[in-house]
Structures are given as C-alpha cells and as structure tokens.
C-alpha cells in the first residue's frame, strides 16, 4: 500500500544503536519482559514436577526435577521475538538442550512433529527439525535467576528462532508424532510455524 503517509507521524528513530539488523520486520525492541498468557499462571510444585518425552520414541522417558537438573546444562544467549511485536534483545536462559532429551528417548524414524503440552492445558506444535540440532531448550533460569512462574517456571520450552508462543510455558511433555497437529494458538488464527523473519504471524501469512 505504497504512497500513503500517516500525517504528522514521525516515530522514534533508533540511530546506530545496533538494533536494526537484529529486529525482524514489524518488531520493536522492548527492554522489559512482557507477560502474555491466555489464563491464570499455574503453580507447579517441584516435588510433583515431571518432564516427559513420549509418543514415537524407542524409549519413553520421564525426569523428575532433580533428574533434569543433573543433565548436561546448556545456555542460550540471544534475542526472543513475540508475535505481539516486542522483541527482547540480548537475553539469556539456561537449562538443557532438547537434543539431550531426544537422544535419551530415541525418536523413531517416522517421527516428524512434536506437540508440547503444559500445565494449564496449553499446547503448541513444531516440526521435529525445529527442536533438533541446537535450536531448542527446556529452560529453568532466566538471566541467572530461577524462571519466575509468570514467565513459565518451573520450566518452559525455548525455541528462540520462532515467535515466542512456541516457547511453551509450564512445560510437561513433548510428544512425537508422525503428523502435524495444531496447538492452542495455531487453532485460533496464529500461524502454524511462526518464523519471525518471514513474519509468519497469522493464518495465511
């Protein structure tokens, strides 16, 4: 829709602060960490907490809180992008790589997709290739502190190369499937994959 201008709108210029190349189209840099959740924040007792990997795997696995903490630790430092248009640049999380979890469960060759399911009933779907190869984590620390409940603590999925609704909070389980199955927001108008660099926000984008 070229050739039109919002009369009097100037906007805020970000001269030379290095944000330009790091912000996907339509995003702005947000110094805070907004909370977006469709319902109440679940309170999860660590003694009851379990993480499960099942579905199309050779060995369904379940870890307690202590067991998951004992897995090889890994960290992510970088940027996250929310479909509601904020991006948080230069943030960090720590937890375990999803590769470690999958290696222990041994995905079957026919597994192509994964559905993350969560306390509170939230679900989100991902192609298996989007959570393998060092691209996804289960994290319980944010910037050196325990992940707060409103940000998904005790532990959330982290898939920073996709819009942040894919980084499911209050993670309980990853189930491997041989087909795709849209999750909560994917069934309510949001894009099935959600790549921020392709601006895949909504159905049809």
């Amino acid at each position: 829709m070229a050739g039109y201008v919002s009369r009097g709108f100037r906007g805020r210029r970000r001269a030379g602060d290095g944000e330009a190349g790091r912000l996907p189209p339509g995003q702005y840099a947000e110094p805070g960490f907004p909370v977006l959740t469709a319902g109440p924040t679940p309170r999860v007792d660590l003694a009851e907490w379990r993480l499960r990997v099942d579905g199309l795997v050779a060995t369904p696995r379940e870890w307690t809180w202590e067991e998951v903490q004992a897995l090889p630790r890994s960290t992510f430092e970088g940027d996250i992008h929310c479909v509601t248009r904020w991006s948080k640049l230069g943030t960090s999380f720590a937890g375990v790589s999803v590769d470690v979890l999958l290696d222990q469960a041994e995905p079957l060759p026919q597994a192509t997709h994964v559905v993350a399911s969560c306390h509170g009933g939230y679900t989100t779907n991902l192609p298996l290739e989007d959570v393998r190869g060092g691209k996804a984590w289960v994290v319980w620390e944010h910037e050196g502190q325990p992940l707060p409940p409103e940000h998904g603590g005790p532990a959330r999925l982290l898939v920073p190369h996709l819009y942040f609704w894919k980084s499911a909070k209050w993670l309980m389980a990853l189930r491997l499937l041989d087909h795709d199955r849209p999750g909560f927001w994917e069934g309510l108008g949001y894009h099935n994959r959600g790549d921020p660099w392709r601006e895949e926000r909504y159905w049809g984008d």
């Binding site: 906007g11 702005y28 248009r85 940000h151």
Partner: protein, 245 residues
C-alpha cells in the same frame, strides 16, 4: 484460510475520553467484522517511509465497517502519543485484523460474566459490554474496574448508562490512588476479598475475563483460582512488562 490483508483506515471521529485516553472511530472499507474482545494490528508510516506497528484492542461492538479503538497515551511510547494526541479526523493509517480468538465473548457463551479491568484494560471488556447491550443479551454480568482516580475512569458515563438499563449488569469501581470527597466505593487494589464481594461464587461457574497491567492480572487470576474458580474459565490478557505497574 485467507491472509489478513492490510487495509487503509480513515479516522472518522476523535473523541477524548480522559486526559490521557482518546477513542478513534475508524472507517475501514472491506472490514470483515470482529468479535468483542479481539484486537487489530496498526501500521503507521512516516513521510520518510519509517514504519511502526502495534496491536490495539477494539473497543466497539461489531458494527459494519466501523471500528473504534480506545488508546491510552504512554509518555514514553512511540505510537500511542500520536494516536491519543496528534491524530485528527480524516487522517489515515493501515490496519489489519481482527486478531485473537480466545479472549472473546459472544452472546452464545452466555454468563454469568465476571469482567475485571485495570486502567485501559477495560477496552476489550467494553466491546463485550457494548455487544451484550446491542444484542439484547441478558447474561448476568458484573464489571469490577480499577482506576487510579475518578478522572482516569474511561467510559464512565456510558458505563453508568449501561448499568442503569436494568438488564443484569452491575458496575463496581475501585479507585486506588485518590478518591473524591464522599467516595463510598472501594479505594484499594483488587484483592480476593473484593472479588468475593463483587464477583460470583465458584459454584455459579462464571466465565471471567481479566484485562489490565501484568501485576493486576496476575493477582486477580491467581485470586480467582485460589477462591475455587475453574482456571479454564478464567481468560486473561496482560499488558506491560513484569516489575512495573
């Protein structure tokens, strides 16, 4: 599923609501309609081509090709000072939507309804109340609305009129920062006691919509669950980062 395309919206009317809040009535040719509680994406373009995009809740009930937004000016904001201050009738910007399929109410969902708002979080709830009134719904509805002062209450007169219609709506205000002389209403942040006094009992199975700053929504949604309400019937929309407001 068709792509949500950008449409050119023309400002038909600008209506100040409070000293910091304005409503914009927009004509959007080709608008496909919306549900109460949904939002839109806006795209503003400066003369040199610089663009900024933001999401705003729709304040109006579904009504043909007319869409109303109600915007609070944030002093350090990039877009809201323009929308609630600079913009005039006849101005144009791009818009696409409607977006969001969960924080919505339609008459078929019935009630009872508990609506809890903090500040400009009342906007999507107002769309629900307007839609409820326009559709003749008698769903028993209680709005609990937290503002800093009486002057900060958005839609004050209209809420009073809606509550006076006698169709099952009650409106309760709490003023957290300052109260006018003789104020007999609540004068504190929404808490569990207030929710028990104003809201529904858990066994009445209300559908709750809570919208406002993160801190308010976290507290209210947590209180509702602690009071025994079904988490699956508490729908929330938060704005702003953690740690502030």
């Amino acid at each position: 599923m068709g792509r949500l395309s950008w449409r050119l919206a023309r400002v038909a009317e600008v209506r100040p609501e409070t000293s910091r809040v304005a409503s914009l009535a927009l004509e959007v040719p080709g608008w496909v309609g919306h549900l109460a509680g949904q939002h839109v994406d806006l795209r503003l373009t400066a003369e040199d081509g610089y663009q900024a995009e933001r999401s705003y809740s729709i304040a109006s009930a579904p009504d043909g090709q007319r869409v109303e937004l109600t915007v609070e000016r944030l002093d350090d904001g990039e877009v809201s000072p323009y929308l609630a201050g600079e913009i005039r009738e006849g101005d144009q910007f791009e818009l696409r939507g409607p977006i969001g399929g969960y924080f919505v109410w339609k008459p078929g969902l019935g009630g009872p309804l508990l609506l809890v708002a903090g500040g400009s979080g009342v906007v999507p709830l107002m769309a629900m109340l307007r839609h409820r009134a326009a559709s003749g719904s008698q769903a028993p509805t209680r709005l609990l609305y937290s503002s800093r002062t009486l002057e900060d209450v958005i839609f004050r007169d209209e809420l009073e009129r809606l509550a006076a219609a006698g169709d099952g709506l009650t409106v309760t205000h709490t003023l957290t920062r300052a109260q006018p002389p003789g104020w007999r209403g609540y004068d504190r942040r929404v808490d569990a006691v207030m929710l028990e006094e104003v809201g529904w009992r858990p066994d009445e199975r209300p559908l709750a919509y809570v919208c406002g700053p993160t801190r308010l929504v976290e507290a209210v949604a947590g209180d509702l669950v602690a009071l025994g309400h079904d988490p699956a019937r508490v729908r929330t929309e938060r704005f702003g980062p953690t740690g502030v407001q």
